[in-house]
């Protein structure tokens, strides 16, 4: 692992204008990821975690826009690249997989063709003739596709190359998506809740596959999930998000084993835990705030059992807690 981080996000702010005002979906987020590392972004719906991933790939649809910040990938600021340069990155250097495979795969094309499309768009196989005429290039591409289908665990790739997405089960569809993402050999994989729609035994298979890919290919992964258990088992470090901001961050053992922000603690308290029969779960009272009308200071204050007047006075910085870069955005640790 080299010293230069693979990805450095600095002060990222992504806004969606609405009739009632600007929604700060991502509000001043900093993240760093090294080669081969697995980072988890954890939070509930609406906290901005998916928006962070979409922002990295500049897939934010108008009228939403990235209002501020830098996204440094291998030293280059992605936010300064042209459309053409960004297209070189998407799918080839940084790839993404989404939550519901059936809505991301094209129902009208065979799965094998969809995997091949990525190879073709990025000219991975260089032929001398125009593509439709170059049989050698096309068969080389097919070879690569079959190989990756095997790598991701799709049985009988030769037969399934011509299958349509609806002929695959949920787990197989997700494997197909992973194949599309990996076929050009990206160094970073963004995964937005890839296993939420899957059964638990299939989830275990997919996470196992992703771990293998990380170990064998050295692909760095950012995994967005609402499931703390998945994050705890799978990630090296995690960032907990609330209302567009990171509230706690650090090595996964630290954040899960010794949570320092009241929201993280609340999340862990509200989950039933296996092996602890008599333990009551304590839901976090109240609801997630309206992102248009965020109060000054800490967004979690209205629901926080430890809230003080100082919590809502001004922006709260990160304070170090524990070891190895574990930080929490909470004045309890000032």
């Amino acid at each position: 692992m080299s010293d230069t981080p693979l990805l450095e996000i600095k002060n990222l702010t992504t806004i969606y204008p609405t009739k009632r005002g600007n929604v700060r979906a991502v509000d001043g987020v900093d993240l760093t990821l090294h080669e081969g590392e697995i980072l988890g972004i954890v939070g509930e719906s609406g906290c901005g975690k998916s928006t962070v991933l979409l922002s990295i790939l500049r897939l934010i649809r108008k009228p939403g826009r990235i209002a501020n910040g830098h996204i440094l990938f291998k030293g280059r600021d992605l936010l300064t690249l042209s459309g053409r340069e960004m297209r070189e990155i998407r799918g080839k250097e940084i790839a993404m997989i989404f939550q519901d495979p059936l809505s991301t795969l094209n129902p009208a094309f065979p799965v094998g063709e969809q995997i091949r499309e990525s190879l073709r768009l990025h000219h991975i196989v260089n032929g001398r003739l125009p593509w439709p005429l170059d049989r050698a290039a096309r068969s080389k591409e097919k070879e690569i596709v079959l190989k990756i289908m095997e790598e991701v665990g799709i049985p009988s790739p030769m037969d399934r190359y011509r299958s349509y997405p609806h002929q695959f089960s949920g787990g197989m569809q997700q494997r197909a998506l992973i194949a599309i993402a990996l076929v050009c050999g990206p160094s970073l994989l963004l995964a937005d809740e890839p296993t939420t729609a899957l059964d638990v035994t299939i989830q275990a298979q997919i996470l196992d596959l992703m771990r293998r890919i990380n170990q064998e290919r050295g692909t760095a992964i950012i995994l967005v999930t609402h499931d703390l258990g998945v994050a705890a088992e799978f990630c090296d470090s995690i960032a907990v998000m609330y209302a567009g901001r990171i509230v706690e961050q650090g090595p996964v053992d630290q954040v899960i084993g010794n949570p320092q922000h009241p929201y993280t603690q609340g999340l862990l308290e509200s989950r039933p835990r296996l092996g602890e029969r008599g333990r009551r779960i304590h839901p976090i009272p109240g609801n997630v705030p309206d992102l248009v009308d965020l109060p000054e200071g800490c967004a979690f204050a209205p629901r926080c059992p430890y809230a003080r007047p100082e919590c809502t006075e001004g922006p709260i910085p990160f304070y170090p807690v524990g070891e190895n870069g574990h930080v929490a955005r909470c004045i309890l640790h000032a």
Partner: protein
């Protein structure tokens, strides 16, 4: 007719299912049948289930997609009629959609919906978008016999308050509520009938973690207060562990293992249960189990394999017998397991009394 009675306590289960099957027919269209000789296929969603639920308890029902748990929940509330088998309420058989109900005041034949209700999984599709909250909860009250509109309104408000909403919401429509709130409306609707038995079909799966906890706590409080019996269907094993007294594990239309929650989670007997429990991602490192990664996919209930339905994916397969014969249910300690690995144990016996019929049925 024999009645299931616990030999020790003389208690009768609130709900009992015997040999319940529910099959759906997939009939191809006219052209497909005449030109392509396409056959009618059978989806064996529930394929021979024996189940009992004691009064006041929560039975957790787990399984993955396609195992038949939702179908079983609907058969037990008679939203579907079983293809085969019988369902008993407090020892009395269901006849059509009615059943004999005995209480302190006497006995009468009532519609089963007075006694059994369901809370659906998807709060977005289970409420009529064209009805106000007042109507959604008011209609069941009318069926309960509350004809006076003022009295009904009072009861609706009472129910709303009990689930954490209030009278401001009476004239609102479902789309104006969040997922968690809609689920609460669904709960109020189920309670409106004052049922004794509620099937909760994945009531918290589509909710955020912190809202899940709120709804789970609410369901527990209501159970105490209204003396309810629950069949809690879920695929999230942590939630099942938390809320259930006993757990039944389903696979491809069959119950493969059943037992008290602690026993089943601590020492799962059926290979499928073991794989299921091993697959749960754990926050607590020490609680993590050795990974059992199951090969293959969950099979389709249209073409179930011969013999034990789990044998194609089983890592502990015993031999040919698994492929040829469906295993009987063995009593292994506190659990009942349908697996050939345990054939040295006795076959589980249902606990019927020897005297048989209930005296009331002689009237």
């Amino acid at each position: 007719m024999s009645v299931m009675v616990d030999r020790n306590t003389q208690q009768v289960p609130l709900i009992e299912a015997r040999g319940v099957r529910k099959h759906f027919l997939l009939r191809p269209g006219f052209l497909a049948r005449t030109l392509a000789r396409a056959q009618t296929k059978i989806v064996r969603a529930v394929d021979g289930v024996d189940l009992h639920i004691w009064p006041g308890e929560t039975l957790g029902l787990v399984g993955e997609s396609g195992c038949g748990k939702t179908t079983l929940g609907r058969v037990l509330t008679r939203l579907y009629e079983p293809t085969a088998g019988e369902i008993y309420f407090e020892g009395h058989p269901l006849r059509g959609d009615k059943v004999m109900y005995v209480n302190g005041d006497g006995r009468e034949e009532v519609h089963f919906y007075r006694l059994a209700q369901i809370i659906f999984q998807n709060p977005y599709s289970s409420l009529n978008p064209r009805k106000t909250v007042r109507d959604i909860i008011g209609v069941p009250l009318r069926y309960r016999g509350i004809t006076d509109p003022l009295e009904r309104e009072e009861e609706i408000v009472r129910l709303l308050r009990r689930v954490g909403l209030n009278e401001r919401h009476l004239d609102a429509y479902p789309h104006q509520f969040s997922g968690g709130q809609r689920q609460r409306i669904g709960i109020a609707r189920a309670l409106a009938m004052r049922p004794k038995f509620i099937v909760a079909d994945e009531p918290v799966s589509s909710l955020d973690v912190s809202i899940q906890a709120q709804v789970i706590n609410l369901l527990e409080e209501l159970q105490e207060e209204y003396n309810l019996t629950y069949l809690f269907i879920a695929h999230d094993l942590s939630v099942i562990y938390y809320i259930s007294d006993r757990v039944a594990v389903m696979y491809l239309g069959h119950i493969v293992e059943e037992g008290p929650t602690d026993a089943l989670f601590e020492s799962p007997k059926h290979p499928y249960t073991q794989a299921l429990l091993a697959a749960i991602p754990r926050v607590n490192k020490k609680a993590r189990r050795e990974r059992i990664i199951l090969r293959g996919n969950v099979p389709s209930p249209i073409d179930p394999p011969k013999g034990c339905p789990f044998h194609p994916r089983c890592f502990a397969k015993k031999g040919r017998i698994c492929e040829e014969e469906y295993p009987p249910t063995f009593q292994v300690g506190e659990q009942r397991v349908a697996c050939w690995l345990y054939d040295q144990y006795p076959v589980a016996q249902p606990r019927y009394t020897t005297t048989g019929t209930r005296e009331e049925d002689h009237d």
